[in-house]
């Protein structure tokens, strides 16, 4: 019975589970930290307390999310060794220092100044507090820099040599850090984080408007979110395209899987939907647009696109996963761009804050960023299989010499704990959202705020719709 557990598959599922859960939190906090810095800057500059109240509401949500990101992130620093010890041994020379730099330049910075940011209101000057917020925001970006550099190196490795025992040795650090896919992945991910945050904030702002609560604060939230939607969502689409072209250059088989193309063709059609069948080596029930795939990938209607059959069967990733994750990600992106365009039109008609159907739409878009980020990571991580270091080391070789049942047990423990703990976290975040900004609480938490309720809020609560 025990022998039946496949350690490689279990290790992959466990790692996928813990890392997918983890990425949700940084994806949100990277954007949120930067937005909080902007809010605090607006407050210090204009003296308008609405910004401060919005800040104080969202900094509590930030604290809960960041806490969950920290504890799920500490797990990751051990998982390279517990699940992929052979990989750690062989690639440690190259990747270890990158992760070390992440700790040295980002983790300590975030952790130390987070304390000041959350608890330091009356202990440091407003300027110092603002500095702490900026430092935390910078810390999240520096962290993204290093971890995405490490991940990108595993996708497009260079600047190393192969030594005895299959060990990899660094030969050029700049080539390692700034490997070919890194700039694209970094920009794509940071932008994705900003959009994720924007659509959460926008969705909550829309909810308040819809319920006619905290109207001033809600306008700040929805307004600033839609600035991101209008300007950044289209930029993200362009960056995604560039990232895709970079992938085509370095990992063409991943792109073939994303497109569900099996035969190499000139003037390849774009398959909108379909069912890629790994066994039969074709994409069934495909709905196609002629020549569009060639146009997108080669910028030429009759350009040649390589199909999956160019590669041996054991060199191909699980196509259906990649194909569908890619469509989910792109679908979310399209909806975001559409939301931005709609917001621009409504803004010009001075209806951005009054159209109720748009408020409902924004509420529905709240989780779109998370879905897109997860789907995007599924594309890039499943798409590089069967390799852990692309073209150099296979995932199956990298696994730790631990028994399958250990991995299975710990996977169950992780699932149970994460669902419980992060379920509770989501519940508390929803409660914070329910409370909204500037409402005097009975019991102050450590992040509670001792100040009287704002007149505007009292008015909006007492007077209903006339604010």
């Amino acid at each position: 019975m025990i022998e039946k557990f496949d350690p490689v598959l279990l290790a992959r599922i466990q790692f996928a589970f813990t890392v997918s859960f983890h990425i949700i939190f940084p994806a949100f906090t990277i954007g949120l930290a930067s937005w909080l810095a902007v809010l605090e800057w607006r407050w210090l500059k204009t003296g308008n307390t609405v910004y401060k109240e919005v800040y104080r509401m969202w900094v509590k949500i930030f604290a809960v999310t960041f806490g969950m990101g920290v504890v799920s992130g500490v797990v990751m620093s051990f998982q390279f060794g517990t699940n992929w010890s052979v990989f750690s041994d062989r690639a440690g020379n190259v990747l270890g220092p990158l992760l070390g730099y992440e700790v040295l330049t980002a983790f300590f910075l975030e952790a130390s100044f987070l304390g000041v940011m959350l608890f330091g209101w009356n202990r440091v000057s407003p300027k110092m507090h603002f500095a702490a917020t900026i430092i935390v925001a910078l810390g999240t970006l520096i962290s993204a820099f290093w971890i995405l550099s490490a991940n990108s190196w595993m996708q497009t490795p260079q600047g190393y040599r192969l030594g005895a025992n299959g060990l990899l040795y660094p030969t050029d650090w700049l080539k390692i850090i700034f490997n070919p896919s890194f700039p694209y992945r970094l920009l794509h991910m940071v932008t994705a984080s900003y959009l994720t945050t924007a659509f959460v904030v926008g969705g909550i702002g829309a909810y308040y408007l819809w319920r006619n609560r905290h109207v001033k604060h809600a306008r700040v939230m929805l307004g600033m979110a839609m600035i991101m939607g209008i300007f950044v969502a289209p930029i993200q689409a362009v960056m995604g395209d560039l990232h895709g072209l970079n992938t085509l250059e370095h990992q063409p088989v991943k792109v073939a899987a994303m497109e569900g193309i099996w035969e190499t063709k000139q003037g390849a059609p774009l398959k909108l939907f379909g069912w890629p069948d790994q066994e039969e080596e074709k994409t069934k029930y495909a709905i196609e647009i002629p020549k569009l795939s060639s146009l997108i990938l080669t910028h030429d209607l009759n350009g040649e696109v390589k199909g999956l059959k160019e590669w041996a069967k054991d060199e191909r990733p699980p196509v259906a996963w990649v194909f569908w994750s890619f469509r989910i990600m792109v679908g979310m992106g399209v909806l975001m761009v559409f939301t931005g365009v709609t917001a621009a039109v409504l803004f010009l008609r001075k209806q951005l804050f009054s159209k109720r159907w748009f408020q409902l739409w924004c509420m529905a878009m709240t989780p779109s960023g998370f879905v897109a980020v997860l789907a995007g990571w599924f594309v890039t991580e499943i798409g590089r299989q069967p390799y852990i270091v692309y073209g150099v080391m296979r995932t199956a070789e990298a696994v730790s010499p631990v028994m399958g049942f250990q991995v299975a047990l710990s996977l169950l423990a992780f699932i149970f704990s994460y669902v419980f703990v992060f379920g509770a976290g989501s519940y508390y975040i929803l409660r914070l959202i329910g409370k909204g900004p500037g409402v005097l609480e009975k019991a102050y938490g450590t992040h509670g705020v001792k100040e009287p309720p704002l007149l505007t809020d009292l008015a909006s609560e007492a007077g209903g719709k006339h604010v």
């Binding site: 604290a63 809960v64 806490g67 969950m68 920290v70 504890v71 992130g73 797990v75 620093s77 051990f78 060794g81 517990t82 010890s85 052979v86 750690s88 041994d89 690639a91 440690g92 020379n93 990747l95 270890g96 220092p97 992760l99 070390g100 730099y101 992440e102 700790v103 040295l104 330049t105 983790f107 300590f108 975030e110 952790a111 130390s112 100044f113 304390g115 000041v116 608890f119 330091g120 209101w121 202990r123 025992n165 040795y169 660094p170 650090w173 730790s400 631990v402 250990q406 710990s410 704990s417 703990v421 976290g425 508390y428 914070l432 019991a443 102050y444 938490g445 450590t446 992040h447 509670g448």
Partner: protein, 339 residues
């Protein structure tokens, strides 16, 4: 390519750095895990709020030393990391789960109301307890050595469980409780402080007993270690370690009884330091005890060099702003809010 190999002894420096990082982790997370261990025994909810507030701004930074220790191990001694993690698979995962349950309690506890707050009180306590006990068991299993074949762990899934590792686990629970209690003596006043002082005195006895047991049994387990400590003139040179530990125990006890606020905490750190030194001397020069030395486990000199430059630049900065954050939150902690 860039390397400091010909100028300095890279593996030795990194051995020292990792040892320092792990020690700082033990001290810093030690006192806040200790507060978690003592948590349910506090006389009132207001005391518990105060206890939580005294560590809330620091726990995240404290835990970062663990990530630095582990990340540094991967970077500087990847072979040791690759052998030890699978060998200690279960206790490491259990420790991580403990750290999760206690870590989230900081945020959740203050958001929860009524009975659900109890859930996070216990989550904080049992998470801290489990994390500490598992760290002790990891240490206990580590010092006994692990089975290695080639470049991999070759032992079984339950090699880490035995009477000795359980004993070290319990020893660490009392050790962290001492750090936590003396921290509270320093950071609180009134009934919380009185209670913490009583706790510290009580726990101190157990720390003494367990420290003695662990130290003596350590020398029994391995003949090399025994020879190291119990042969002349070594015994003579090493005598200051147990002696100074004994003196510090007496001074902690006196400090607690004379109502001093700072001395017990810093001397508890001293006890940890001498214990750690004893451990280091016994295990020198092993990175994976009795199998792989720190030189054998060392990463490529280029890798160690690159991270050493970063460490040399960043570590003083980090120590500086960590000190700043402790300075910002200096003095006694209140039970209400930290504003």
């Amino acid at each position: 390519m860039f390397s400091l190999e010909s100028f300095v002894d890279l593996p030795l420096i990194w051995y020292g750095l990792i040892a320092t990082a792990v020690f700082l982790y033990v001290l810093l997370d030690g006192f806040d895990l200790g507060v978690g261990i003592l948590f349910p025994f506090a006389p009132s909810d207001s005391c518990r709020n105060r206890m939580m507030n005294s560590i809330a701004p620091f726990w995240d930074g404290n835990e970062t030393w663990l990530v630095f220790g582990v990340g540094g191990l991967l970077a500087a001694f990847p072979l040791a990391y690759a052998i030890l993690m699978p060998a200690l698979y279960m206790p490491v995962i259990l420790m991580l789960l403990g750290l999760i349950f206690r870590g989230v309690a900081f945020e959740f506890r203050f958001k929860a109301t009524g009975r659900s707050r109890r859930i996070w009180d216990y989550s904080f306590h049992f998470g801290s307890l489990a994390a500490t006990f598992m760290q002790g068991m990891v240490l206990g299993a580590f010092v006994q050595g692990v089975k290695v074949q080639g470049r991999s762990f070759a032992g079984g899934a339950f090699d880490w469980i035995n009477a000795y590792s359980v004993m070290v686990g319990m020893a660490l629970v009392f050790g962290y409780a001492l750090l936590g209690a003396t921290w509270l003596v320093m950071k609180t006043d009134g009934i919380t402080q009185d209670w913490a002082r009583k706790c510290a005195g009580y726990v101190l006895g157990y720390v003494g007993i367990f420290l003695g047991l662990v130290s003596i049994s350590m020398t029994m387990m391995n003949s090399d270690v025994k020879a190291l400590w119990f042969s002349l003139p070594n015994t003579f040179y090493l005598l200051p370690i147990p002696l100074s530990t004994f003196v510090m125990f007496v001074m902690i006890w006196r400090g607690l009884h004379k109502g001093k606020e700072y001395v017990s905490f810093f001397l508890s750190i001293g006890v940890f330091l001498t214990g750690y030194m004893g451990l280091g001397i016994s295990l020198w020069p092993w990175m994976v005890p009795f199998k792989v030395s720190f030189r054998q486990a060392a990463a490529a000199p280029e890798s160690q060099s690159l991270l050493l430059v970063g460490t040399a630049v960043m570590l003083p900065l980090i120590l500086g702003y960590v000190a700043y954050s402790y300075y910002v939150f200096r003095g006694k902690t209140s039970d209400e809010t930290l504003y």
